[in-house]
């Protein structure tokens, strides 16, 4: 790959790893954009990011400020851009609709607008999410979203809207949409440096703060590591990977039933003497109506830390009642040698590291960002 690759949101969890992977696997030069209000914030973010990328970044990386809520955020990027990986986003499931719209929809339009002005552009890789499919159930192919579906939260909605608008308004762009799985660990060894709804739910179970699981036991979870995901993104940014929609996910057969994930998690929790001593019961699955009562109760417990934690996972919970079967045929075709997802051993390794570090509170030193092994 010659020319320069722009990565937005490059100091984010995935952005950093995508950058590291580009540095490890290609000889391309990178323009890494970060959100920075002023020079001081840019300097601080650059000073954090570059050491994380290590010596491979020397002479190959330029860090620029770009706030997606500003007009022409990438105007400062010059030179022969061959690929843009758009990773920047507001990613919290409880993001408000106006913020999600401003950053994830309007911001994505601005990135696409920039990409459309790059004459040497070979790929725009838009990082999206499997749950852009919303609350539909059943098979979800690796194609543009068809028809409307309700969404469980504004984040999902905004990612779907971003996908749709780039496809509709920029039909000539060499666009690949990478729909990411839920990322549970940095790599197959299970270390966790970014905590999301998956980890926070397990934390509530471990501490006995939540003892019912919203969802259907057979709903499949599509889990992946950051190493797998960043390697896939770099692969899709290459001109020889066809454009189009990709699911960076296991096959439906490899995806894990919720009940198996819970059993694995509790088996691992049971290895911890302090957990065993407390004899917490495995959660029961509850229906949507029952979960709503739980949320109603939590709404009235404003002084309760557990209720607050419950409110943060609630915007995703509805997905657990909407089982889907994602395909990944296109990804497998575009990525010869694609590693096989680790499945329940990844869940077990992740839970072990969560328990050992008490969800990052004990002895968690993230260390430098590695491109990571995807096998």
């Amino acid at each position: 790959m010659s020319g320069r690759v722009v990565v937005t949101g490059a100091d984010g969890y995935i952005g950093r790893r995508v950058a590291a992977r580009f540095l490890a696997d290609t000889d391309t030069r990178l323009v890494l954009t970060v959100r920075a209000a002023d020079r001081a914030e840019l300097d601080a973010k650059t000073a954090r990011l570059l050491p994380e990328l290590g010596p491979a970044a020397d002479g190959r990386v330029e860090v620029l400020p770009a706030d997606l809520t500003h007009e022409a955020p990438l105007a400062a990027v010059t030179g022969d851009v061959t690929a843009v990986v758009h990773s920047a986003a507001r990613t919290a499931f409880d993001v408000s609709r106006p913020v999600a719209e401003r950053v994830n929809v309007d911001g994505t339009r601005r990135v696409a607008d920039f990409a459309a002005r790059c004459p040497a552009l070979e790929r725009l890789v838009l990082l999206s999410t499997l749950v852009s499919a919303g609350l539909r159930t059943g098979p979800v192919p690796e194609t543009a979203l068809v028809g409307e579906a309700e969404n469980a939260n504004h984040y999902e909605w905004s990612k779907a809207a971003g996908e749709r608008l780039v496809a509709a308004e920029f039909p000539d762009l060499p666009l690949s949409v990478a729909r990411l799985s839920t990322i549970v660990a940095d790599d197959d060894r299970g270390a966790v440096t970014q905590y999301n709804v998956f980890h926070n739910t397990l934390k509530m179970f471990f501490y006995g703060l939540m003892t019912v699981m919203p969802g259907l036991p057979h709903t499949r979870l599509y889990l992946a590591t950051a190493a797998f995901t960043s390697a896939a993104v770099v692969r899709l940014a290459s001109a020889d990977a066809p454009t189009g929609v990709y699911h960076l996910a296991p096959t439906a057969g490899q995806a894990l039933p919720l009940t198996d994930v819970m059993d694995t998690a509790f088996d691992v929790f049971g290895e911890d003497p302090a957990f065993r001593r407390r004899r917490l019961l495995r959660p029961e699955f509850c229906d949507d109506a029952t979960f709503r009562h739980l949320l109603a109760a939590a709404d009235g417990l404003r002084g309760s830390p557990a209720a607050g934690a419950l409110r943060t996972v609630a915007p995703f919970a509805e997905q657990m009642f909407h089982p889907k079967e994602f395909t990944n045929d296109r990804l497998r075709e575009a990525w010869p040698g694609m590693p096989t997802p680790a499945g329940l051993p990844l869940v077990a390794a992740t839970c072990r590291s969560l328990v050992a570090t008490r969800w990052g509170r004990q002895g968690a030193d993230a260390g430098p960002v590695r491109a990571g092994s995807t096998s």
Binding site: L209, T211, L281, A297, G300, L301, A307
Partner: protein, 320 residues
């Protein structure tokens, strides 16, 4: 095994009634009155200075027909310190532990003229203690063929300065008393004990408020299922559930998990009484008895969670 019957029952509450806003202003609550109102609470009852847990116990027992005496008294308190009504100043002045062992059950025996009654005290079952007392009374009547009547009492008053909110529930000082009899008592609605069951998880002895709330939703369904299994019953055999006065959503969730129609959960005293510690079941059961809803043959499940580590349930059947 022949099972005992619950006969007459009565309760008493702290003499001063406060609206939530009043208690919030006085620093007795942690959550906001709005949140507690949304949880189903409206007011609660606090003993005025000078009134103790024993006064509450008398307030309940004085309403029971005790002229025929009782064979035993099972006296329960949630707070262990309510299990002694001695003069703490005297203990501090003298260092004599006898002032820490002035047992309210003994007082009750002599004050009510129940001279031949033997006494038992329960202090380590949290809010579930009244159901523990029923269980003990049932077992005593089964093992002592000569015995006819056991008086079960539960009485708690929070100490001055205590906050009247536990695990996000508004607390009332209160007491309940009931007679457990070997035969149905004439003139009262017969409630035959069908099954009793208890789970204790000592591993949760330091549970925080949030952990107590969290484990409620796994242990209460387990408790109910195990209780029903002991009785050879299913949830379909239960006509009424009489729970404690806790957040009004809590039993909606448990009912959802157990497949019980929430209309069958009798928690009508919640707004006016609040969580009167171990007295809740008797208070709600009295309310159900006063309604025109009960029919002979119906089964009632009394359920209680206590201090995050005890759970007890009792099934009774309406016999007349």
């Amino acid at each position: 095994m022949a099972r005992a019957f619950i006969g007459d029952m009565a309760y008493s509450l702290g003499a001063t009634r406060y609206e939530l806003a009043e208690s919030a202003a006085a620093g007795r609550l942690c959550s906001s009155p709005d949140d507690l109102l949304a949880a189903g609470f409206a007011r609660h009852h606090v003993c005025p200075p000078g009134d103790g847990s024993y006064d509450l116990a008398r307030g309940a027992t004085d309403r029971l027909p005790l002229n025929d005496g009782v064979d035993a008294i099972v006296y329960n308190t949630c707070l262990p310190q309510n299990g002694s009504i001695g003069d703490l100043a005297a203990w501090e002045a003298t260092g004599d532990v006898k002032h820490l062992m002035e047992f309210p059950a003994g007082h009750l025996q002599t004050d009510l003229g129940l001279d031949t009654a033997v006494v038992f005290g329960l202090t380590q079952q949290g809010c579930t203690g009244m159901l523990g007392a029923l269980r003990l009374a049932d077992a005593l009547l089964a093992s002592e063929p000569e015995w006819e009547r056991v008086l079960c009492v539960s009485a708690d008053r929070f100490p001055p300065g205590a906050r009247y909110e536990q695990s996000y529930n508004v607390i009332s000082d209160g007491a309940a008393a009931c007679l457990v009899t070997a035969r149905p008592a004439p003139g009262t609605r017969g409630l035959r004990l069908v099954a009793t069951h208890q789970i204790t998880n000592g591993g949760l002895h330091t549970a925080s408020d949030d952990e107590s709330v969290g484990t409620f939703f796994s242990y209460v369904p387990l408790l109910v299922r195990q209780t029903l299994a002991r009785a050879g019953l299913t949830t379909a055999d239960i006509d009424w559930v009489v729970p404690q006065n806790t957040n009004r959503h809590a039993w909606r969730i448990v009912a959802g998990l157990l497949g019980i129609d929430h209309e069958r959960v009798w928690q009508r005293t919640l707004p006016d009484v609040a969580h009167a510690i171990s007295a809740d079941n008797i208070i709600n059961l009295s309310s159900l008895l006063e309604s025109a809803e009960l029919r002979p043959g119906q089964r009632i499940l009394l359920a209680m969670a206590g201090h995050g580590l005890n759970w007890q349930a009792t099934v009774v059947e309406v016999t007349a």
